[in-house]
Symmetry: C2
Subunit: 408 residues, 2 copies
Amino acid sequence: MTLIDQARALDAADPLAFARARFDLPEGTIYLDGNSLGALPAAAPARLAEVISNEWGKDLIASWNKHQWIEAPHRVAALLGPILGARADELLIAESTSINLFKLVAAAARARPGRTVILTEIGNFPTDRYMIDGAAGLLGLEVRAVAPDELAGAIDTDTALVTLTHVDYRSGARRDMATVNRAAKAAGAFNLWDLSHSAGALGLDLNGLSCDLAVGCGYKYLNGGPGAPAYLFVARDLQHELANPLPGWLGHADPFAFANSYAPADGIRRFLSGTPSILGLAALECGLATFDGVEMAKVEAKGGALGDLFIAAIEQGCGGAVGIASPRDSTARGSHVSLTHPKAYAVMQALIAQRVVGDFRAPDVLRFGFAPLYNRFEDVVRAGEILADIITAGTWDQPHFHQRQAVT
Amino acid sequence: MTLIDQARALDAADPLAFARARFDLPEGTIYLDGNSLGALPAAAPARLAEVISNEWGKDLIASWNKHQWIEAPHRVAALLGPILGARADELLIAESTSINLFKLVAAAARARPGRTVILTEIGNFPTDRYMIDGAAGLLGLEVRAVAPDELAGAIDTDTALVTLTHVDYRSGARRDMATVNRAAKAAGAFNLWDLSHSAGALGLDLNGLSCDLAVGCGYKYLNGGPGAPAYLFVARDLQHELANPLPGWLGHADPFAFANSYAPADGIRRFLSGTPSILGLAALECGLATFDGVEMAKVEAKGGALGDLFIAAIEQGCGGAVGIASPRDSTARGSHVSLTHPKAYAVMQALIAQRVVGDFRAPDVLRFGFAPLYNRFEDVVRAGEILADIITAGTWDQPHFHQRQAVT
């Protein structure tokens, strides 16, 4: 059976095939960059038009109550609960991933006075590393970055917090959350995960795996739109002992009393800071609604199978001309696969000219994300074929030579 | 001449009358809460639909370059330049007012090591106070809050920073920026202004008045929509000596190099943190475009005159039954007027039932904002008459007794 026949059989049997209709996808494009910017939910244009023209335009200030804008950070967060394996009252939509990471790093470190180290990995996502360094600088703490295989041994009683990205943005390698959390807990340290590259693609279980803290972004697999507001997670039992280092009015116990001094709200709400973006929340709500009734175990299984089939297509079509920079074992991967090629940038431009959209990461990485709600098995085999044509012909700097069209 | 005749004459001669057509205002409502949530720019629905359906939906990830999303925080900020009296390269759209305030408080304080005091006023806007206290707590500094008339005398060589709100959110009283800035500079301290209640209503001149730092929100007189992204200002000469305490990837000198360690961008860009909200920026761009070709001196003059006429209508209609809690002298006010009444909450509900929209601030304040781009003189006289009817009849708890309609 050819790979394309296998792909068609998998599509025909796909229990998530129904979800593709929940998106408005551009015709003629194979979009394999949903790990960077998720596709447009079909419901979003009408919903945003309603929020803009009626809620903002007609009801104006009354909408904070009438359309429950004030509750949106909680209402939208509740949709994340089943996606992350967490309780609604442990989640909040707020700010950006960077800002939320700062909040939780600083909050955790201050809740472990006397412990002087924030532990992370070499190669953690750059903005995470910058924010961790920034928080440590303000707090007078040390950031220790170790190789992944040295992490467990590096956790000790000086460690206030272990913070990692769950799925590596380059290789797609997945960290073992259970093992890290166990080691951190044994040493009395908090764990804090960046889920940006896993939420919406993997079957997460923050509660089951004893996660303390997490953050992540809304615009990748969660389909919340460009620069969507981010989320944060604080395990229920820890909320009372953590203070928001960016204590804005919405996290106050009584925000509309306009009191002169800050008193934190009970529970997760204390981690709110400024006034939330209502347009951003409305778009993210549409993005999260694309997961309605979807089993995350099936999402993870399909994402792994899409990646496996893509790797098979690459190996068949490109042989050794490209490297496979991601784990072969899908259970050790997130939902993207990275390839290496010395002319990766030019190759990606040639691919995009053929309407196969992935992305390039310096110096030599071609990255392809598989969004299980809307990517099809046939798409990834076609993408592999088109990439193989480009590599084989060696004409990545003359992309218009290739006329094979991407399937729609 | 009656007040309504005066109002009609003022409307007929209003050099800003043309700007009202730039908004989509609900018919039959007198909206005097643009100081809390600005009205919908008429261009916003179509522009947002374009960004959502075409830029996000069709061009997807390519839009970061193709539609210059990556430049939006600067492009939109440039529209603020003439509104604030500042240069485009001193301004940035980012995050919320609260988060931006934290950034600049911490940056300024760290640039004056050895100085231990952040000076502010008693009664500064609550969320500002919370964020200032939060930053001081992280940095081990003291916040000193003094009465407005004690401020100048309280600035000394321990003062790292003087931070105030330009227009008081309750009384509408306007602080004397020039005097405060002079006193702060003489003592070697930074000045930092929250312009949320003045930008878009007053003729500001940040450069001319030697402002160092400023922040403000996009959703009040700037018409950027609910929870619009906020802005920050850093005077050109100070940018190189201030470090962003929330150092996210977009403020990196080379964000797409994904380097492991942070190196700040030159200039204002270093104050970016996380990925910006593209929908929020698009809406704010429409809001700021409503100021195109508008002279801010005329905006300030009209706002003052609207407030004066409103006060005259209240005095004529209500006599001593309501207090005037704002300065009578329009040059000492922002663009809102606050009244006091022992049953203020119920009175505001009655007003809203008659489609005159202001807001209530505990315990006894009725607040009315005048947005010079779309509020008319006749509107404020009508609002005063309707309020007088409610107060005189004493039936604020039976609002449907009054059938006088607001003008459209």
